[in-house]
Each structure stands twice: as structure tokens, then as C-alpha cells.
């Protein structure tokens, strides 16, 4: 187990936001190492800084202090992020003008020209998330659960070694949420992809191999 290489290493992450005249210290020295293929859940109260942390982990935002390494490298260009990290958000963020298949393919298009292999993979992924007969539907014609499943297929499209999911079931009813978590865990396990799952739901969190709790700017064991 421990001889698996780390995908992501975070050391002493600090992040604060200006809040009026004072600064709001959201993260105060977060330490986190995610190994290849492992699943980690992060719980925490609303406003505890989970999204802030994920933004740092995905390289979309920079920490005030601390170190980050992705597969041993401290820099993460936009293009490399597209290859290395699949992102799943609470509110899906599908492109409304594109149908389900094109939304999944978009992740590949951003990496370079696409061909038959990419199309086949996108179709396959949509089949795996149970949307084989919905490939031509635009997001407006899909239910919330179906949209999130498209987003999961998109996150997996480039075969990233790491998935960061920020409350993926937050906008879904219980049944759909359950299905989404099942899929996420199954697909990650299948492809050997590490998963960091931010969630409010204790049951969902408990299905991950490692469980963390974010409080007062740092991790506490559950």
C-alpha cells in the first residue's frame, strides 16, 4: 500500500481571504498526501474551506503559503491540469450548447485533436455511467443525476490519475446521489484513479478508504 507513488502532496497550505478590514484565515497549514489509486473523503462544516482547499489542490488558485507537488512537480500548467486532474463540481458545469457526447469529448479536445479512439472512449464512458441512449441529448434535456453522470464521464475522459470531486451529490436527491457515488467509486477503482471526495454525507464519506475532517483550517481524524 505505502509503496504506491504519491500523486499529490500538499504541505503547510495557508489561504486567507480579505473580509472587510480583517483577513479571514480559511486554511492554516493543511497537510495532505494522496497516493496513486487511493480514495480520500473530506468532510467539514459549510464554510470550513473544503472548496478553497480543492481549488488549491487543482491548481486553480494559489496558496498564501505552503507547497504543492503534482506527481513530484511543483508547477501545474493549465494544459497539464487537464491531463492530470479530473474535476467534478456540485453544479455540474456542462456546456449547454453541447450534447452529452460532445461535453465528454470537450475534455479531450482541449488536449489536442480528437479521433475515432477518443469518440469510442467517450461513448464507452457514457455507457458506463448508464447514458448510452442519451449521448445526443443536450444538458437541458437531462435530469440532475444524469448531468452529474455526464460530468463524471467528462472528468474521466483524459484518463487522469486523480479526480477531485466537490460535493458531487450536493444538488441531487438521495437516490441519484447514491448512484453517482457508486459510479464514482467504481470507475475510479476500475481505472486505478485516485479520488478526493468532498461531501457532507457521512455514509458517502465512509465508503472511502481514508476519511478526513476539515475544521479550523486543518485536518482532524474523524
Amino acid at each position: 500500500m505505502s509503496n504506491r507513488p504519491p500523486i499529490l502532496q500538499a504541505r503547510g497550505l495557508h489561504k486567507s481571504y480579505a473580509s472587510g478590514a480583517r483577513r479571514l484565515q480559511v486554511l492554516r497549514g493543511v497537510e495532505l498526501t494522496v497516493l496513486s489509486g487511493e480514495s480520500v473523503s473530506i468532510r467539514g462544516e459549510s464554510g470550513s474551506g473544503k472548496s478553497t482547499l480543492l481549488n488549491l489542490l487543482s491548481g486553480l488558485d494559489a496558496p498564501d503559503a505552503g507547497e504543492l507537488q503534482w506527481e513530484g512537480e511543483a508547477t501545474l500548467s493549465a494544459a497539464r491540469r487537464g491531463r492530470l486532474i479530473g474535476l467534478v463540481f456540485q453544479s455540474f458545469y456542462l456546456v449547454p450548447e453541447l450534447d452529452a457526447l460532445d461535453n465528454v469529448l470537450l475534455a479531450a479536445r482541449l488536449q489536442g485533436p480528437i479521433g475515432a479512439a477518443e469518440r469510442a472512449r467517450a461513448c464507452d464512458l457514457l455507457g458506463r455511467v448508464g447514458l448510452a441512449d442519451r449521448t445526443g441529448h443536450i444538458p437541458g434535456k437531462l435530469s440532475g443525476g444524469e448531468r452529474q453522470r455526464v460530468a463524471i464521464a467528462r472528468a474521466l475522459m483524459n484518463k487522469p490519475p486523480l479526480i477531485l470531486a466537490d460535493e458531487p451529490t450536493g444538488n441531487l436527491d438521495e437516490g441519484s446521489g447514491e448512484a453517482v457515488i457508486d459510479l464514482l467509486l467504481a470507475l475510479c477503482a476500475e481505472s486505478g484513479c485516485a479520488l478526493v471526495l468532498v461531501t457532507h454525507n457521512a455514509a458517502h464519506a465512509n465508503r472511502c478508504a481514508r476519511r478526513l475532517f476539515l475544521r479550523e483550517g486543518g485536518f482532524h481524524p474523524v
Binding site: 493549465a78 494544459a79 487537464g82 458545469y93 460532445d102 482541449l110
Partner: protein, 409 residues
């Protein structure tokens, strides 16, 4: 296809939506501007060409004149005809006379032409509306249409011609005997000034009326197809014996052509503003799209798009609207130009202004001509303006930070 272009196309023409309204309005704006430019510049160009043809048809492409009289036109013509590019030459003498027919006087300009040569330079024959061009001899005259009408003269009428030379004779107390000429033809060129009061006689008659002897006032020159009048004029000037200066029709009508060109430029400039206004609407609808799609722009960043690529995506939308709008505008413009006479006919029938149109504009058919340069100018300015319209939204989109964009609700 690079993905910014792909996404731009998809955003303008989304999957599954048959009628993208925003896109249609934006394209329509550009198309109307381009179409209007095509129509107006074509008609302006048509008039310009009519005028050019009229000038060239009545003066030749190059006119050679001397300071005073050209005493030896033969030698001058021989010299000119050796210049490469020159097809034919014809001498002319010109002046003013007084005409009288049944007590009605007129003071038209008079042109003496060499009946044997003039045809090769100036297509007089094609302007004859009554009578025979070939009947012109030393005792006959061809009148312009309106002059004939004012005088009430017809074919076969005999008119008296008084030349300024008669005034000299008056001083020496000689008896005034006017020259009697018979009308053998009536011409109409389609130009108010020329049609109102010009008479054409043979060169010999003119030389007698003015006492010129064998001298003429100048020589009209016809050039071969596609010969540059300015080049040929320079060549002719070099070949000319001492007396005589050649001027191309463009030089001779410089002021007039300048006004014509200025008018066309003004119209182009004013109508270009329609495209500029259309571009503002393109820019504003793209700006709205940037705001509306803030979260998707953030998503693109999360998926690995660089700010430059995001900018390219919105810039492409401006370019695509420009290209499609320009193409539609070209189609629209050329269709209107093609059916212009039917449109004018329909319009005048509606307003009952057919007669007025013909009287004031001396045409019943609207001319149209669009030069390649004008066409390219219209196309490129439409494309440039609509590309510029995409730049501001593109810059706004590129400035969005993915984290903040994703956070926006």
C-alpha cells in the same frame, strides 16, 4: 479543428436548436451593412463608368491640343500613330456659332470632324437617333437632339449659320451672307450638356466658317484595349512635334473625376458606419454571452484552457459572424443589384414618378459596376470591423479567473 473555433461555432449554432436568434440578429446587422454598401457603391460605380464612357466616347482617351492652331495636323497624326498602343487619330476644330431657323436663334458649340476618320475614334454613329451619319458632307449638319427640338428643326430643315468671322467682315462693310446647312442627322448622347446644344459639321465646313485654312485645334486619339491612358499620354507627348500637348481624358477631367471619387468615398465612409453599428450590437451580444457563460468559461479553465484560448473562442465568434454576415450581405447586395431595374420600376410604379425619374436623371436603366478593389475593400472592412467587435468580449473572457468564475452564481 482547434477547439476554440469548434466551441465558437457550437455556441453560435448550438446542437439541437434550429434557430439561434442572437446569432441571426448579429449576422443580419452585418449583412444589411454589407448589402447596402454593395448596392450603393455598385450604382455609384455604374454612374462613374457611364460618365467615363461618355467622356471617352466624345473626346477619345487622349486629346492633343496646341497652344494656338495646329497648322500641320497630318504630321502630328503621323507622329502620334507611331506610338505603340495608339489605334487611331482624328483631327477636330471647335468653336461657337449662332444658328437661326425660322427666326429662332441658338448659340451652340460647334465641332468640325473629319468624316472619314472620326468614326474610328469616336462612335458618333451609335448616337444618331434620326437621319444618317454617312450623309454628313460639307453642306450638311448634325444637331443634338434638344437643340433640334428648341429650334423646331427636323431632318431636311435648312439652317443659317453665322460664324464670328462674319463680324470681321462686318467691320469692312461687307454684306453678311450666312452659311446655309441642311440637317441630315440628330444625335443624342445621354448627357444633358452635350445633348442640349452641340452641332457637328465636317472639318472643311468648320475651317471655312472660322477661316482656319488647313489648320485644326487638336487631335483626338483612340487607344487599344487595356492600354493605360497615362502611360500612352506620356509616350505621345514624347513623340509629338513641337506644337501640341497631349492630355489623357482623366487629366482633362481631373476636377470632375475628383468630385466623383470624393462622392463615392463619402458614401462608402457613411455606409461603413452601418457595419460599425452592427459591430457594436455584435460586441454587446457577445459581452452578454461572456457574462451569461461566466461559469462555463471558468469550467474551460478548469479543463485546461489557457486565457488565450478562451479569448480566441470569443474572438472567433466575432469573426464567424463577420464572415457569415459578409457572405449573406454579398448575396443580398448582388441580388438587389441584379434586380435593380425591376425594383426601380416597381418603386416608380408605386409612386407614379416614372416620368420625373427619366427627365431628371436621363436614364431609365440604372447602371451598376463594382470594381474588384471596391469589392475587396467592402469585404475586408466588414471582416476587420466584426473581428474588432469580438476583441472586447474576448478580452473580458480571458480576464476571468477560473476560481472566481466557477464560484459565481
Amino acid at each position: 479543428m482547434p477547439w476554440p473555433l469548434y466551441l465558437a461555432l457550437k455556441q453560435l449554432f448550438p446542437t439541437g436548436r434550429r434557430f439561434p436568434f442572437f446569432t441571426f440578429i448579429s449576422i443580419l446587422g452585418v449583412a444589411l451593412g454589407v448589402g447596402l454598401l454593395i448596392v450603393c457603391i455598385s450604382v455609384m460605380g455604374g454612374f462613374g463608368r457611364e460618365i467615363r464612357n461618355m467622356i471617352v466616347n466624345t473626346q477619345g482617351e487622349v486629346q492633343v491640343r496646341s497652344e494656338g492652331l495646329m497648322q500641320d495636323p497630318r504630321a502630328v497624326m503621323d507622329a502620334i500613330e507611331k506610338v505603340p498602343g495608339v489605334l487611331a487619330t482624328t483631327p477636330f476644330a471647335e468653336g461657337v456659332v449662332m444658328l437661326q431657323y425660322q427666326n429662332k436663334p441658338a448659340f451652340p458649340a460647334i465641332q468640325g470632324v473629319d468624316a472619314n476618320r472620326v468614326d474610328r475614334v469616336i462612335p458618333l454613329r451609335q448616337f444618331i437617333v434620326a437621319g444618317e451619319y454617312d450623309a454628313l458632307d460639307d453642306d450638311r449638319v448634325i444637331l443634338s437632339a434638344q437643340l433640334a427640338m428648341t429650334l423646331g428643326a427636323r431632318l431636311g430643315s435648312r439652317i443659317s449659320v453665322y460664324s464670328p468671322l462674319l463680324l470681321e467682315k462686318l467691320k469692312t462693310d461687307e454684306i453678311l451672307i450666312p452659311r446655309e446647312l441642311e440637317v441630315c442627322g440628330i444625335f443624342e448622347i445621354g448627357h444633358q450638356q452635350l445633348d442640349s446644344s452641340v452641332v457637328i459639321v465636317t472639318l472643311r465646313t468648320m475651317q471655312e466658317l472660322y477661316g482656319l485654312g488647313r489648320a485644326v485645334h487638336g487631335v483626338n486619339v483612340k487607344l487599344g484595349e487595356g492600354i493605360d491612358p497615362d502611360r500612352a499620354t506620356a509616350d505621345i507627348n514624347r513623340a509629338l512635334p513641337v506644337d501640341g500637348v497631349a492630355k489623357s481624358w482623366m487629366d482633362a477631367n481631373q476636377e470632375f473625376l475628383f468630385v466623383l471619387q470624393l462622392e463615392k468615398n463619402m458614401i462608402f465612409f457613411l455606409l461603413l458606419f452601418i457595419i460599425v453599428v452592427a459591430a457594436f450590437s455584435v460586441a454587446s451580444s457577445l459581452l452578454i454571452a461572456v457574462v451569461r457563460k461566466t461559469r462555463e468559461i471558468g469550467l474551460l479553465g478548469a479543463l485546461g484552457a489557457s486565457p488565450g484560448q478562451v479569448a480566441a473562442c470569443f474572438c472567433c465568434q466575432g469573426v464567424i459572424i463577420g464572415i457569415v454576415g459578409t457572405a449573406a450581405g454579398l448575396g443580398l447586395g448582388f441580388a438587389v443589384v441584379h434586380f435593380r431595374n425591376d425594383l426601380v420600376a416597381g418603386f416608380t410604379r408605386l409612386t407614379g414618378s416614372q416620368a420625373a425619374l427619366e427627365r431628371f436623371y436621363q436614364f431609365s436603366q440604372l447602371p451598376a459596376y463594382l470594381s474588384r478593389t471596391d469589392l475587396l475593400l467592402i469585404i475586408s472592412s466588414a471582416l476587420i470591423v466584426s473581428t474588432l467587435a469580438g476583441l472586447l468580449p474576448a478580452w473580458r473572457a480571458a480576464k476571468l479567473k477560473p476560481v472566481e468564475a466557477l464560484r459565481s452564481e
